[in-house]
């Protein structure tokens, strides 16, 4: 049996069994868990209960999977509005960990896990690694950031649960990353795809040829990337590059992962129920049609999410995969339904930039965010129109303004951006409203 899995280019791990459930069994499991999680949220989360009552429905009204359409949506601002613990469905003495990600007002989005949530999280990460052909004996260099960000610890415990050897190097320090890839002989690396491109560029400068190393797989996520990037990374590093998907609000990394077929990401549907809706009408669209991904956590205890709008635009499809997995796949995330952009793994909303500019000038100037990619790293430039109030004939004052704006943005979004002062009225307005985001990154 195990030979079959190896022939298929996959590693079979017992934890991966739910990936292969027949559809009817999977649906039974999903319905059972959906009813339980709806009841749990109703009992313990005031916001959810009030919304259910507002719609005149109770958990008993969920009789079949399709009834999920009657449930209210959850959106990112709900997490902010209930900051910090308003959506917790477990008492603190059952919560064993919290994570947080950047929020739009400087307040982070807080998420929580029970012991059981962490076990589930590790198990879905094991399924990600297994889908990418990794197993006990592999050495996984985990270059996702450790800390409040879910990426580092999520991948870490998943890799340990797999039985692989983890190198918990965290993000940054590219030269050391390359040294350890070489000296420790990692067979896989976890990081953002843009960071791996940085490693790819730096290695030859250090006299290291990644193609000669044991490295065979990259688990790349936390930001959208493209097949073009894969076509560049794979031959240059002689590895397979796998796309991993996840978000803190749902669990962190581990919601979906590519398999050896590298043709869409398998969603671990027994824990995360996916729907695709039209982002305008919020009506469900059938499999095969593009729309916004909406996820419901079927087994989460500490912080269940019912119909969470991810803002990620994708397509679901259930054609049988050559790897044998039966769970549905989603296309690579191509874009988002709002203006949020992800840069170096950090979620940024234009409203955050605006807030940072406002903090310096007192009034929000006209600005535009321009994303570029020099072939390796994504870069952000914030172009700010010089207002008559802000203008001075002294260079030192103008340079000072530029630096203050840059520092203010860095404080709010935690990434360094270039600020460019531009002449008034240089930023195009349409119907009086400027287009805030220009994405010139190569797709």
């Amino acid at each position: 049996m195990s030979e079959f899995w190896h022939d298929a280019g996959c590693v079979f791990h017992p934890v991966s069994a739910p990936d292969y459930l027949p559809e009817t069994q999977l649906k039974q499991l999903q319905l059972h868990r959906l009813r339980a999680v709806v009841q749990r949220s109703y009992d313990h989360v005031a916001l959810f209960r009030e919304r259910m009552q507002g719609k005149g429905i109770t958990p008993e009204d969920i009789r079949q999977l399709e009834d999920i359409q009657h449930l209210p949506f959850t959106v990112k601002t709900d997490l902010r509005d209930t900051y910090p613990f308003g959506l917790f469905a477990s008492p603190m003495n059952e919560i064993v960990r919290m994570h947080a990600s950047s929020g739009t007002t400087g307040k982070p989005i807080v998420v929580a896990y029970t012991q059981e949530d962490l076990r589930v999280w590790s198990s879905v990460m094991v399924r990600c690694f297994a889908a990418a052909g990794l197993d006990r004996g592999d050495i996984i260099q985990n270059a996702y950031g450790y800390g409040l960000f879910t990426g580092g610890l999520g991948a870490h415990y998943g890799a340990e649960a797999l039985g692989a050897t983890v190198i918990p190097i965290s993000g940054g320090n590219t030269d050391r990353q390359i040294m350890l890839l070489k000296d420790f002989g990692a067979t896989a690396i976890c990081c953002t795809p843009s960071y791996f491109l940085r490693i790819l560029e730096r290695a030859p400068e250090l006299g290291v040829n990644l193609r000669d190393l044991p490295l065979k797989a990259g688990i790349f996520g936390a930001e959208p990337w493209t097949d073009e990037m894969r076509k560049r990374i794979e031959p240059e590093a002689n590895i397979k590059a796998y796309d991993i998907y996840g978000l803190s609000e749902i669990i962190g990394p581990g919601v979906a992962n590519e398999c050896s077929a590298q043709d869409g990401l398998h969603i671990f549907e027994d824990h995360f129920y996916p729907e695709i809706v039209d982002p305008e009408t919020l009506q469900p669209v059938p499999d095969g049609e593009e729309g916004e991904l909406v996820l419901t956590t079927l087994s989460k205890q500490a912080m269940p999410m019912i119909r969470y709008r991810t803002r990620d635009i994708t397509t679901l499809y259930k054609e049988k995969c050559s790897c044998g997995r039966t769970v549905r796949r989603m296309r690579r995330i191509a874009r988002r339904s709002d203006d949020m952009f992800i840069i170096r793994g950090v979620n940024v909303f234009p409203s955050q930039i605006e807030e940072a500019l406002l903090a310096v000038e007192g009034t929000a100037p006209h600005y535009q965010i321009v994303l570029t990619n020099d072939g390796t790293m994504d870069d952000v430039e914030v172009q700010v129109e010089v207002s008559p109030e802000a203008f001075s004939d002294k260079v030192s004052v103008m340079e000072g303004l530029r630096k203050k704006l840059s520092a203010s943005i860095e404080r709010v979004v935690n990434i360094r951006v270039n600020v460019r002062l531009v002449e008034p009225n240089k930023i195009a307005r349409s119907e009086g409203k400027a287009k805030r985001l220009i994405d010139n990154r190569k797709k």
Binding site: V386, P388, F391, D393, K394, V395, M398, L421, E423, P424
Partner: protein, 146 residues
């Protein structure tokens, strides 16, 4: 005895300087002198023109942000040590020079230099007390015309 200077913000790219110059030319306004302070990203154009109010109107109408600043124009003897004398006077009263640039024409064998001090009033008093000629706007425009 101060005079008005116009300053404007320009992006540092080809063609940006010619536009305001062309606008003023079309309006029949002569530029007496100018300076450009530049950084990698942007420049600040400073202009002295005979009719600063008209020039400001023309430039603003074209969408430029225009500031009016008072600056001090002094005559400097066009010989070694001429400028040093003035700078010493300014040093004595503990003032800072924000920037300076020269006129393209001379007055009676003297160069004319434009200064922006951190306190123009103190500078003018100090200079005049030491017998340095501070030239007023009108006087300059008349000379420029000759």
């Amino acid at each position: 005895m101060k005079m008005h200077q116009l300053s404007m913000f320009l992006e540092n790219k080809p063609g940006r300087l010619s536009e305001p110059c062309r606008l003023l030319a079309n309006a029949g306004i002569n530029i007496l002198t100018l300076s450009v302070a530049d950084t990698q990203q942007f420049g600040i154009l400073r202009l002295i023109v005979p009719d600063w109010e008209a020039a400001k109107g023309v430039l603003e109408k074209a969408g430029f942000v225009v500031n009016v600043t008072e600056v001090v124009a002094t005559e400097v003897v066009d010989q070694p040590g001429g400028l040093a004398t003035i700078l010493e006077i300014i040093e004595e009263v503990g003032l800072n020079i924000e920037y300076m640039y020269a006129f393209t024409f001379r007055c009676n064998d003297k160069a004319v230099i434009v200064f922006r001090f951190d306190n123009n009033d103190i500078a003018v008093t100090a200079l005049q007390a030491k017998g340095i000629s501070v030239v007023g706007g009108v006087e300059l425009y008349e000379r420029a015309r000759q």
